[in-house]
């Protein structure tokens, strides 16, 4: 091992001690910066990831919609299903309705799904907490968890659903009776808005409620893993009838502004938090400069022993690098440890502050999501180590510029 590396290690971790006070403080500074970056980046990334996952899980990768109703969906479904890369298609109809149970009303979003096809695109079965999707037919309904909870309805309970068609029929002196449906399931997606106000019925029941006949509102499409959603949307558009006003949009395109805001928010927070690392690097620089001053005579001695200026510089540069390396490792452990316990910590915090409901209402998620892109992790690790090493360069330069004679005379 070169002497400058050996001495750098010994100055950071002296014989008979775990580490020096200066090392501990410098490592802690870097570690806290890295941990904060990891936690913030993961949580911000987690919110974005959950939102993206939820969009895909509830809409598919690509969605075909038209400004008018889509009549005769059969040929459309078969032509889209034949597009290479498409692994599932399912039609849907949706709208707001009035749901009543035990004289308690609610105005949920009603989703009409094709029970035979929906699982090819949307993993609904995965979200069913009580009951079964197999039980869903034209006389049954599945409610979202918080809606069921707020209405106090259980499996087997009977709810009545009516739609705006009721008013339209009344204008013509016709009566459209609300449909009585049996609750056969309760689902929970993990998104507060969807979980609090959504109802699933069969497509036929939705067509009946809205008087659509055989028409649908759109088609959700699932594509094979790894394919680009935008490219697939373009391929699907190519097979849509030219005369129709139907368009396929990828989930990215359909939510582009929202996704841009999410990414921008995450980037801005990362840039702001990068200042923590910069502050830590100044702390490293300041500590190493102090060390250079404190060890001036030792630097002179190293010259007298035959050490070259560049080796003396390397000794201090290596210290900056090692502090960055160990600080980053410690910060990653702290950060991922915190993320592992994030829900327990949040629970404790919300209990202490009584803010659990507000949190769920505003942030839509019952648990704190966390997701770290590997590129972000690499950027944090490499960026921190580079900044820490750079922080060691100025003290190293100062040390290498010391004249051994003046250094030895230093009092």
């Amino acid at each position: 091992m070169p002497w400058y590396l050996y001495l750098a290690l010994k100055q950071l971790f002296p014989s008979g001690k775990w580490l020096s006070f200066f090392t501990a403080i410098s490592i802690l500074g870097v570690a806290l910066g890295v941990a904060t970056l990891v936690v913030t980046n993961s949580v911000m990334g987690g919110f974005g990831y959950e939102i993206r996952r939820m969009i895909i899980d509830t809409q598919g990768d690509v969605q075909i919609r038209a400004r008018s109703l889509i009549e005769d969906s059969g040929p459309l479904l078969s032509s889209v299903a034949k597009v290479p890369g498409v692994v599932g298609v399912t039609p849907f109809a949706e709208g707001v309705g009035m749901l009543e149970y035990g004289r308690k009303p609610a105005f949920p979003l009603i989703q009409g799904v094709d029970v035979n096809r929906v699982n090819d695109v949307i993993p609904l079965s995965r979200f069913i907490r009580v009951g079964s999707l197999d039980e869903l037919d034209d006389d049954t309904v599945i409610l979202s968890s918080q809606l069921a909870y707020s209405l106090g309805v259980h499996i087997g309970g009977k709810v009545t659903i009516s739609s705006p068609l009721l008013i339209e029929r009344l204008k013509n002196d016709e009566v459209f009776l609300p449909r009585e449906l049996v609750v056969v399931g309760i689902f929970e997606i993990g998104h507060q808005q969807l979980d609090s106000n959504t109802v699933l019925v069969t497509l036929r029941r939705m067509q009946d409620l809205y008087g659509l006949g055989e028409a649908i509102h759109g088609v959700n499409v699932k594509i094979a893993d790894g394919l680009d959603a935008d490219a697939m949307a373009a391929r699907i558009n190519a097979v849509l009838p030219e005369a129709s006003d139907m368009r396929a949009h990828s989930w990215i395109n359909a939510n582009s502004e929202f996704l841009f805001v999410l990414q921008m928010e995450k980037n801005l927070v990362s840039i702001l938090l990068l200042f923590i690392i910069l502050v830590a690097s100044f702390s490293i620089m300041s500590s190493l400069l102090t060390t250079v001053v404190r060890k001036t005579r030792e630097i002179g001695l190293l010259g007298a022993l035959g050490g070259r200026s560049r080796e003396i510089a390397a000794c201090f540069c290596v210290q900056g690098f090692l502090i960055g390396l160990i600080g980053t490792g410690t910060g990653l452990a702290l950060g991922f440890g915190f993320l592992h316990l994030r829900n327990d910590i949040l629970l404790l915090f919300t209990r202490l502050t009584g803010s659990q409901e507000a949190l769920e209402r505003f942030y839509q998620f019952s648990n704190v999501p966390a997701h770290m892109e590997s590129a972000d992790l690499v950027m944090i690790v490499v960026g921190t180590i580079v900044i820490s090493t750079l922080a060691g360069i100025f003290p190293a330069w100062r040390a290498s510029r010391l004249n051994p004679v003046e250094a030895l005379r230093n009092e």
């Binding site: 020096s20 001695l301 035959g306 070259r308």
Partner: protein, 236 residues
Amino acid sequence: MSDAVARNVLGGSAMSNFILKACDLHKTYLSGERRLEVLHGVSLSVSDGESVSIRGESGSGKSTLLHLLAGLDVPDSGTVHWEGVPDTGARQRARFLGMVFQSFYLIPELDAVGNVLMAARVAGKVGAIERQRAQDLLARVGLSERGHHLPSQLSGGERQRVAVARALMNAPRLILADEPTGNLDEKTGDSIIDLLLGLCSEQRIALVLVTHNAVHAARTARMLFMRDGVLQNTNL
């Protein structure tokens, strides 16, 4: 001092085979607006295994001369040759020279063995042989049981013994000692000088000893005196 004296000093030794040869060294320092000439054409030759002492008043230029001889500083004019070669660079210094200072200059984070081995590390080689030599040297200076003590756990005399062992680590041809007893009590100082002279004689290493102590100086083979930047041979 005249050039004649300087020449006299240069040829002061009866021995040939100079391992250190300094010719006509001049050195000036700026002090504010004034230029202070610290060395006025100093010449000095030291033969293999010879011990030379340099005494002089504070500020007479002893330490400046020692730094020039060690290649740590550059003369305004004049030359320094080690073993007949004008190379006094860092790599050559690690192999050729050992230095002992008044303030010991041990590295506080390293134990005694580590400090002794540091000289070998800087010279570029630390293996089993060097480790054994470091242990042997510590035993030779009477610190075989204190090898794993940090400098802060050693007395002043013990620290200087470690510094002597470090100076000997790379089996140098020359040791430059700059007031090695200056921070020690008389008894400890005497023992350090005994050790330095004994080891240098035993291992045939030349020694240039800068000291204020006339008794210590008298124990070297040749005594020189520095006055106002000029080296005088007190044996004459």
